[in-house]
Symmetry: C2
Subunit: 135 residues, 2 copies
Amino acid sequence: MNNYSNALREHHLKATPQRLEIANALAYYGHISIDNLYEIMLKKFNSISLATIYKNINIMLENSFIQEVKIPHEKSVYELSKEAHSHLVCNECGEIEDISIDLSQVSNAAATNTHFKIDKIDLVFSGLCQKCQTL
Amino acid sequence: MNNYSNALREHHLKATPQRLEIANALAYYGHISIDNLYEIMLKKFNSISLATIYKNINIMLENSFIQEVKIPHEKSVYELSKEAHSHLVCNECGEIEDISIDLSQVSNAAATNTHFKIDKIDLVFSGLCQKCQTL
DNA sequence: TGAATATTTACAAAAAATTGGTATTATTAT
DNA sequence: ATAATAATACCAATTTTTTGTAAATATTCA
């Protein structure tokens, strides 16, 4: 199990036990909503409050330690920052999967068409995962 | 100016004056947040309530008359349903632009890599629009 | 290692966002 | 036009998120 103390400090965040646990939860589950995170955190810190969750999620976002993933029709989930990647969501079971796809073609197409200077791409595929297709 | 009475009815929505005005606002502005929509609606219906806005947005979403667009770091905006397209957001001025790009390559890549059956793609480019690059 | 300081936490409360209940009014189909 | 149905405004309730603060904790630096 990873120790995120240094990673947190590199993002100018104090390494508190609560934050370490948030990092562990994100690492373990990959993507997690505020509600789920609160439930998980309660198991380790039985007096933790939602306000603490929100404050930490928000400051972690500001400092780019984590990223928000906006899923269609769902509440946002959060993930540890890593290399750029896209997401797939199963409309049946809700599973979220990471995927790395080369987006230079679409990025260039968008840039030349609109003259935007593009520096970030949020891409979410929705559909059915392999398991849910066969059920 | 378009009359959306029939379009609403085709989506099994009664064509009330409030709904027609929402449709007009979405058509005129392209993308609108709940707050902005409420402000706009207040000009025509000085006793309209936010609850009415929410109820209509929700039922219009359910009936696919409109679509939600989730913008990074921003509140959702809504748009009239139309052909599939992607979005560009300017991080400076907030402008949201539609763009049609062929996504069959990335869609195929994602499908073959993950064995998902993909039926929807949400793609948002963030960056700077042409105007804001030169400021 | 320990004291000083700066930040974080839990808790309470407030604020903001969204949803629910109902009498009245408007829309639709006949 | 009328009856049946659904939407609206209004108000209240709920849910979600943020804020303020004293106490507790982590970090810094000697």
